[in-house]
Every structure is written in C-alpha cells, then in structure tokens.
C-alpha cells in the first residue's frame, strides 16, 4: 500500500506540473482576461515566493518532506490557506453526499434487481430494464440541467447549492439539517441513477446465471419455499459482483460528483479540485489526488475484506 501511494504521489505531482505555465501564469492570464493587469515585477516576485522558480523535483521533494515530517500538505496558492483546512471543509459534505448516494443506490438496486431476475420477462422486469437503460444512457450533467430547468420553470426554485441562503452561515442546527436534506435529494438522485441502473443490470444478470444452476433445482426439489430459496442461496452468490465493485464506488462518486457539483454549485471537493487544476494550484491539487488515491486503496481493502466475509469461497482459496 505504501509503495503504491508513493508512486501515485510522484505521478500526481508530475501530471500537475506537466501543463505549460504554472500558477502565476494562470493567475495573470485570469486577470488579463477580465481586463485587469498585473505588473511583471509582481509576477516575478510571486513566482519566487511560491518557489515556482525551482525545478519540479525540488518542489516535489520539499512537498513530500513537509507531508512526511510535519504533516503539512502545503498551502493553496489561490486561497492562501493550508490545504488540509480547505479539504476538510468540503470533505464532510462530500462524504455525506457519497454515503447517501450509496445507500440510495444499493437500497433501490438490490430489490429491483432481484425482482427483475426472479420475474424475468414480466411487465415489472421490462419497466425496470427500460428505466435502467435510460438511467445509464443519460449523462448526469444533462439530467442535472434538466432538473434545474424544471425546478425553475415549474416550481420557481433555484436548486443550486446544498443550503438555502439563510443557513449557509448558520451553525449546525436541526433546521440546517432539514434544509440540507431538502437540497440533498436532487444530487443524490442524479448521482445515484446511473449506478443504480448499472447495479440492477448486474444483479439481474448474475442472479439469472445462478437461478438455473442445479443447486437451485435441488433446493426447490427439497421443498424450500421460493422466497427462502432465493435469498438464502442465489442472491448471496450474485452479491459477489456487487461487493467487489464497491471499491470503485467512493472515488467514482467523488469524480462524478465533480461535474454535478459544478453544475449545481455544491460545496463539495469536486469543484475545488477542478479549480485547483485549472489554476495550477499544485499543492491543493496534489493533496486532493493523494487523498482520492488513498480512498481508492482503502476502498479496495475494505471491499476485499467484505468480499471474504460475504463469499466463503474466496476465504478458503486464500488460505
């Protein structure tokens, strides 16, 4: 795990340094495009101050040293605040969003998937399949834009952000939680819909494979009730694929939520990462990528453990 992370950190830093120019270039270009100007002397000074006049490997080594020995991820150029502070602010909401989406996805996909496999070619199966394909096919940002338009046109509501204006500054309270939930369902649905549709299809396909295996036949011959039979054996086997893909869910969701968050102006990590990359805010972007990679690796570990717990076959093979 540690070597993987190290390699990732090197690659991440290199990728961030690859585009032409640096933070100062993009800062100046940004101001210029707004019709503002910066003096060239100031530019030189900025570059010196941020250490951008040094070679990339020196910048990397300095960054790494500070992380390892001081737990200091550096400062954001754009915000002039410690990177960790900025990330923590947004990480909580991102995780809340990811968790809600996960719960939504699984709690919808599992029953619907099982249903449409068990009642293959029924009306319910066709409806679920139809909706599933639509869900996979529609790009999320488009869904977000359409929902925004509908909310504006018919409900006189602008659905951007995660809080109403009056709650943004307020401390956490019951009212704020309710307000959050009021706003949260839209991104949860948008983010969850593709994943849900996909999981329904996976569940259905896996379960259909299992349903025709001899052990099901045996169980049925032994007089087990259909419901008990279904959930005790084939569903458990079919869950395998479910769990093993779970590792991708968290980073995937954080990635996907970038586009949605930009469209809906959600205060999650996605837009901040995007902003950091566009402005070439190296330490902020680097810390983000490092964090996301760590999440993926931890996710893999957790899902491996879960898989071993769900599926005894894997456990035995490893011993």
């Amino acid at each position: 795990m540690i070597p993987t992370l190290f390699v990732i950190s090197v690659v991440a830093f290199m990728v961030i340094s690859l585009p032409p120019g640096d933070f100062v270039t993009s800062y100046v270009a940004n101001l210029s495009s707004q019709g503002e100007s910066v003096e060239a002397a100031v530019i030189e000074q900025m570059r010196e101050r941020y250490g951008l006049d040094q070679p990339v490997y020196i910048q990397y080594l300095k960054w790494m040293r500070n992380i390892l020995f001081e737990g200091d991820f550096g400062k954001s150029f754009v915000f002039r605040r410690p990177v960790t502070e900025l990330i923590w602010q947004r990480l909580t909401l991102t995780l809340v969003l990811a968790f809600c989406t996960l719960v939504f996805t699984y709690s919808v996909a599992l029953p619907v998937g099982v249903y449409s496999a068990a009642k293959q070619y029924s009306v319910g199966d066709y409806v679920a399949t139809f909706l599933g394909f639509i869900g996979v096919a529609i790009p999320q940002f488009l869904l977000a834009l359409v929902l925004m338009y509908v909310a504006f046109k018919y409900f006189d509501q602008s659905v951007i952000g995660l809080f109403s204006l009056e709650y943004r500054e307020a401390a956490w309270s019951w009212g704020k939680v309710v307000d959050l939930l009021k706003h949260l369902w839209i991104p949860v649905i948008i983010l969850g819909i593709a994943g849900t549709a996909m999981l329904i299809r996976i569940m259905r396909a896996n379960l259909l494979d299992e349903l025709h295996k001899p052990y099901v036949l045996t169980a049925r011959a032994k007089g087990l009730s259909e419901g008990k039979l279904l959930f005790k054996y084939p569903v458990r086997v079919a869950l395998n694929a479910y769990v093993s893909t779970a590792q991708y869910r968290v980073p995937e969701m954080i990635n996907a939520s970038t586009v949605i968050s930009v469209v809906l102006s959600l205060p999650t990590t996605g837009p901040l990462l995007l902003e950091a990359l566009m402005q070439q805010d190296m330490y902020l972007a680097g810390a983000f990528i490092l964090l996301l990679s760590t999440l993926t690796i931890v996710g893999t570990l957790v899902s491996d453990i879960a898989l071993a717990w769900v599926d005894p076959r894997i456990r035995y093979r490893e011993v």
């Binding site: 032409p20 019709g35 503002e36 002397a41 002039r80 900025l86 951007i160 952000g161 968050s261 902003e275």
Partner: protein, 726 residues
C-alpha cells in the same frame, strides 16, 4: 396598487421639494424675530416646529430653539431640557434665540440620520452617535433618482472563488480620488481635496478630519505613511515597486505634512498620477490600517511578530506580511478594518460558499439630506461554481443587480423572456472595449521570412480588405457593432477616423492587388507561395475560453482562402497561449480590443508597443513596460520605418506622462494615434454593441446607463452605497 405607489412617490417628492425650498431659509430670519432672544411658554398643541416658524419664520430652524433652550436650562433650572425634539409638554419654558444666533447655529448644525440597526446600537451604548462616527466633513453623494430608505441586502453572485474583481467593482473602490459617475473627470474621495504643483511633481492630499476605520479607530496620514514605510520602501518585502510610483525610474516620496495632509513628491513630472489612483491600481494605500496590520510587521511589533508567523504556519514574518498584502486579503480577513461601505463579515475561504459584507457603521459618506450611507444593510454574494447557476438565480429574481458573468449577449434573450417572472429590468452598459477581436500578426517574429512579410503594410492591408466584416457582424454578433480597426472610440478627444476606418471596406479585388505586391505567386490550389516557393502558411492562436473569437476566426479563415491565404486556426488553453506569446513563439494571436474609452490614455496596447499584451510585438511591449517576459525583452532597433515610429511613440508617451496639462496630453495622444494609423500594427474586426445588466424592479438608484471597463470598475463609480430597496 400601481396608482397608490405612484402617489406615495409623488407625495414623497412633494415633501422633498418643500424641504428643499425651506432649506435656504433655514438661516434667514422670519417676520417677527426677537432682537435679543426671549422666553416662551409652551401652549397646548404646540410643537417645536411651530414655535420656530412663528418666531424665526422657519420651522426647519427648530434645532436652534432646542439648543438654545438646553443651554439656558444648564444655567437656569426653570427652563426645560429637551431630549426629544418631537416631545414637548405644555407649560415648558423655552428660550427663543435671536435671529443672528439662530442663523449662526443653523449654519453649523447638521442633522445626520442613520440606519435603524445602528441607532439601536447607539441606544445600547455599543456605538457612539452618528455625528461622532462621521468625519467633520463627510462626502455628500448625489442620489441617482431619489433619497432612499434603509435596509435590505444586495444579493449578487460570483463565479468560483477567485472572482474578487466583482467585489472591487461593488464596494472595493475607495481611493484617494475616483472617477465621477459619468467617467468624464476625477473627483476627490477619501481625500476631501488635493493640490498639484505647476510641473506635476508634487501632489498634496487633504484627508477628512475625524474619518474612521470600520472599527472606529481614526484614519489619518499615518496609515498612508505606514503603507509607504512598511511596504513600498521595504526592499526586502517589495523588491520591485509599482510602476505608477516610479515615474522616470525613481521611487516617489510620501511625506506627512500633518495628521490630515500627505504629500507625494516625484523626481520628474507625473502627469497621469491622479488617473492611476482613480483606477483599481490605486487601492493599496487605503487598505492599510496601521493599528491592525502593524502587528504583522517586525518594525511595528518586534516582540510578537515571529510568534504570529509561526501560528499562521509561515516560515518567517516577511512571508506573512506579504500574504496580507495580496490584493484579495482585504476581502478575506473579516478582522481587517476597512473604509468601505460594507465590511466583510463572512469570507469565502471559510467554506460557506458565501461572501457577506455588513454595513460599516463608520462609513464616511452621506446623501444630500444627511442620511449616513449605505442604504443597504448588507452585500451578499453567493459563490456559484458555474455561470449557468448564476443565470438561473438571475432569472429567479435572486439577484438584485448585476451584469458580471451573467449578462452575455447569448443570455439576453432568456433574460428578456423572464423579465416579468424574475421582476427585473435591464440597465445599459457602454463598453470601453473598442473591438470584438484584434488579429495581431507577430511583427517581431523570430523567423526573418515571416517577420518581413508580416511587417509589410501591404500584406496587412490586403488581409484587412479581404475580411467581410458585415458578414461577421450579422452572423456572429447578431447585427450589433460597426466595422472597426484598433482605434479609440469617437467619445474620446483623440479619436482618429483614419485609424478606426482604414482598410475596413470589404473588397476582394483591392485585397488581391495589395497581396500581389507581397506574394504574387500561387500554387495549383490558388494559395499564395512564400519566397521559398512553398505555400505560405501561418496560424492564428485563439483562447478556448472565447468561443465567439473562434467563430470569427473560422469565418476569416474562409474569407482569406478567397484571396489565396492559407491561415490555420489554433485553438488552445489560455495559459498555453500566454506562455507562447510571452516567449514570442506565435505567428499571430487574436484577443479582445481593450482600452477604447477614456482608459485608452492609460492602456495603449493596441496603439503602440505598450506592454506584454501588445501581441504584435511582445518583446518590445515587455521592454517598454520595464518588465521581464518569457524571453529577454528588447527595444526596436530603429532600423526600419516601423521601428523608428514605435520609438517615436514611446517618446511622445513619455512626454505625456511628464505633462500635467490636459490639453497638452490630448494633443500628444492625437499624435500617437496618427502614428498608429500610419503604421497599422494590428487588424480589428468590429466594435461591441451596448451591453446590459439586470436590476430588480424594487432595487433603485441604479443609473440607466453606465460605462463598462476595468479601469472604470463599474458599477462602483456610480456609488452603490446609494442603491436601495423598496
């Protein structure tokens, strides 16, 4: 409903008119004024106003009666003490002052009003009274339509975090001097007056006595001196100085004459100093509260500074102080006192996706009736990640007044459709930008062959004649705009028709005639051949953020094919484009035509090699701006006519900077424009149509039209502190 609203407006106007009529009489004695002053006993149904009217001939002079009575009461307990002018009891003994006393009192008397939220704080003793908070001579702001009422938020939106230009444009524009709302002149602001010596080397500014920072600490000459001593002259913190403090290459000197007078002295005449101060460049010396920022500077807080730096995670105090001096810090640190109408209380970096600024109780401006400004309680800006979200807010009526980011030409139709629903209307913005797209061929191209061809004026003239500008205007800019080269707009005194209009006529034959003089041979496909016998090809680089410019170039590419020119459009990311043109690696670049209004005296990038944005000669531009670019900057060698003329223009502009006489400055600008017209450095397409912004129907005192520019950071010069909601 509508009628009643109208009548209430009418009655308000009537009251105002009556008051205005009365005011001149305030110090004039009435029909039967007492010669020496006399006592008077209050009758039933009396009021101070009636008493003053009866004895002084003017009800508005009642504060004189109140003051005189209270003074008498201090000596003679039989007189009443009046606390509330609206509450007097029958039987109270008043003292009517003589006409002279009354008029003398009224001449100095100023009744200031304040927002209810501040009056409450005064009542509980948390704030001193408004008279003590205002300077002796507050700045009086003319209202656009009418006197406003207090209260309400100004709701706006900004895109992503780094959009502080919008804050500068709304309330971050309090400089020593400022542009007047019409953008025709410079008027005093923080300085109540100023003097310039004859040769424009000394500028004396008189500050407002009793003016205070937003935390109540007096603002004096020491704060400006703090900026100069702690920052400007500190070579360690600021190795290179702002160019507008360095006319003739020598740093100006700032002196404190007394607590309320500062003097700027320069070695050579600095004719454009006041103009510079009126642009957004002039903010810095007025955001330096010594009592607050001093703690971050070793000269002012030698014991505590290192501990503060460590706490803030800085390597040393210098880094910390430099961080405080970044231009956005004033909007990010809620503790930092300011001179603005609204003081930031919730900053964006706190992760709320919101910027909130609250009424500054010490704001030093009043309306003509003595109401302390601003009218609006708060400035609130929602941080949206995407412009579309901001547009939706506007359509929903969630934005009170704004044009930035949302008021694009493409959005105009959708904004127009939803006017009723969103309860807003449009105001007009008049762009100071003079061109949609400036095609700048690189006249300092490193390849000598290309350089020679690009420098040939016939080549550029031919290309210009080959552009069908009307087609571009109709297809891309929905008919808005006029064919235009890179020239200041007719509203400027140095407008040059030749520069604006030459070679704009669409004429393929003429274009071919010009081009034949430069590249007569063509290949089988009809494309012109270079001197080496191969097809002459060049590319124009365009930034991917400006799709309109890409569209323009696509049309131009097709139109140039007709005359045998093979041009390629190169679409690239902004940072890459800057990197390439800074390194002088580009064939040609297209960019918008900044600097067409009054700002063209300060921003001449399209009229002479002026700075790194003079895309047709970036090394020269860098050299003239005294800056360091991607390559070593160099001046024109003076070898050909083009180079000699560029040098001549530099000379003229240096003279302009050394002059303090506006007539002479105008004359010099005219000469510079004449040379620009002869040289024809760069090819323009067309002017911009008028822009627009949205303002809610219940949001008032926004002018119907205002200039649009960065150097006139609209709408700030139109005094947003007098905007109000009703």
């Amino acid at each position: 409903m509508f009628c009643s609203k109208k009548s209430s407006v009418l009655s308000r106007v009537t009251i105002v008119m009556i008051l205005v009529c009365l005011l001149p009489m305030a110090s004039v004695a009435g029909a039967a004024p007492p010669a020496q002053g006399e006592s008077y006993t209050v009758q039933a149904d009396d009021s101070l106003w009636l008493v003053a009217e009866k004895y002084l001939g003017n009800g508005a002079a009642y504060p004189a009666v109140m003051d005189a009575t209270n003074k008498k009461a201090a000596e003679d307990a039989t007189f009443a003490t009046i606390v509330d002018a609206g509450l007097i009891q029958p039987g109270w003994k008043l003292w009517i002052p003589s006409a002279e006393e009354a008029s003398a009192f009224m001449a100095t008397y100023k009744a200031y009003n304040e927002a209810p939220m501040l009056a409450e704080l005064v009542a509980t003793g948390e704030l001193p009274p408004v008279e003590e908070r205002l300077p002796e001579n507050p700045m009086v702001i003319e209202v656009v339509d009418r006197i406003g009422v207090y209260g309400g938020d100004w709701n706006t939106a900004m895109q992503a975090a780094a959009d502080y230009a919008w804050v500068v444009r709304t309330f971050g524009y309090e400089h020593l001097v400022r542009w007047n709302p019409e953008w025709t002149a410079i008027v005093p602001n923080v300085a109540e007056s100023y003097e310039i010596n004859e040769d424009a080397t000394e500028f004396t500014f008189h500050l407002r006595k009793g003016m205070k920072w937003s935390d109540g600490v007096p603002f004096t000459a020491d704060d400006i001196l703090f900026w100069y001593e702690a920052w400007i002259t500190n070579d360690e913190l600021l190795p290179s100085k702002p160019f507008w403090m360095m006319p003739g290459g020598e740093l100006g000197v700032v002196e404190k004459v007394d607590d309320y007078t500062v003097k700027f002295k320069f070695a050579v005449p600095h004719g454009l100093f006041l103009q510079r101060l009126a642009t957004p460049d002039g903010y810095e010396m007025l955001v330096m509260p010594k009592h607050y920022l001093g703690q971050f500077h070793a000269d002012y807080n030698p014991e505590g500074v290192e501990a503060l730096a460590e706490e803030g995670g800085y390597a040393n105090w210098q880094e910390m102080f430099q961080d405080r001096m970044v231009w956005e810090d004033r909007f990010e640190d809620p503790d930092r006192p300011c001179l603005y109408a609204w003081d930031v209380s919730t900053s964006i970096v706190e992760g709320t996706s919101l910027l909130v600024a609250k009424r500054n109780p010490y704001y030093w401006k009043v309306d003509p009736e003595g109401n302390q400004l601003p009218y609006l309680d708060r400035f609130v800006s929602v941080v949206a990640e995407d412009a579309e979200g901001m547009v939706l807010m506007g359509l929903n009526g969630a934005i009170d007044m704004q044009d930035r980011r949302i008021a694009t030409a493409d959005n105009k139709a959708v904004f127009a459709d939803n006017m009723e629903k969103g309860n807003y209307h449009f105001f007009e913005t008049v762009p100071a930008e003079m061109n949609q797209a400036m095609i700048a061929l690189n006249l300092t191209h490193p390849d000598p062959v290309k350089q020679e061809i690009f420098r040939n004026k016939d080549f550029r003239s031919g290309l210009s004649h080959a552009i069908n500008r009307q087609e571009i205007i109709d297809v891309i800019f929905v008919g808005q705009g006029e064919p235009w080269q890179g020239a200041p707009l007719p509203s400027t005194a140095w407008y040059n028709e030749q520069l604006a209009k030459q070679y704009t006529e669409y004429d393929v034959d003429l274009a071919n005639e010009y081009l034949d003089k430069v590249l007569p041979d063509k290949d089988a496909e009809g494309f012109r051949l270079g001197p080496d016998g191969k097809r002459f090809t060049f590319s124009i680089e365009v930034c991917d953020r400006y799709p309109k410019q890409v569209d323009v170039l696509e049309l131009v590419r097709l139109q140039w094919q007709e005359v045998g020119i093979d041009m390629q459009v190169k679409f690239e990311e902004r940072a890459l484009l800057y990197e390439r043109k800074d390194a002088n690696e580009h064939d040609a670049v297209v960019w918008a035509g900044d600097g067409g209004g009054l700002d063209s005296m300060l921003e001449l990038r399209w009229y002479m090699p002026f700075n790194n944005e003079s895309n047709y000669a970036t090394p020269w531009g860098y050299y003239y701006a005294g800056a360091v670019g991607g390559i070593e900057p160099y001046p024109p060698a003076g070898e050909d006519e083009l180079e000699q003329n560029a040098l001549k223009q530099w000379e003229l502009y240096d003279q302009l900077g050394a002059s303090s006489d506006p007539a002479e400055q105008t004359e010099l600008m005219k000469q510079i424009m004449e040379i620009a017209a002869d040289q024809f450095y760069v090819i323009g397409i067309c002017t911009l149509g008028p822009g627009y912004g949205i303002v809610r129907n219940d949001f008032h005192n926004v002018p119907e039209s205002m200039p649009l520019s960065w150097l006139y950071p609209h709408p700030a010069p139109t005094n947003p502190e007098q905007y109000f909601k009703e």
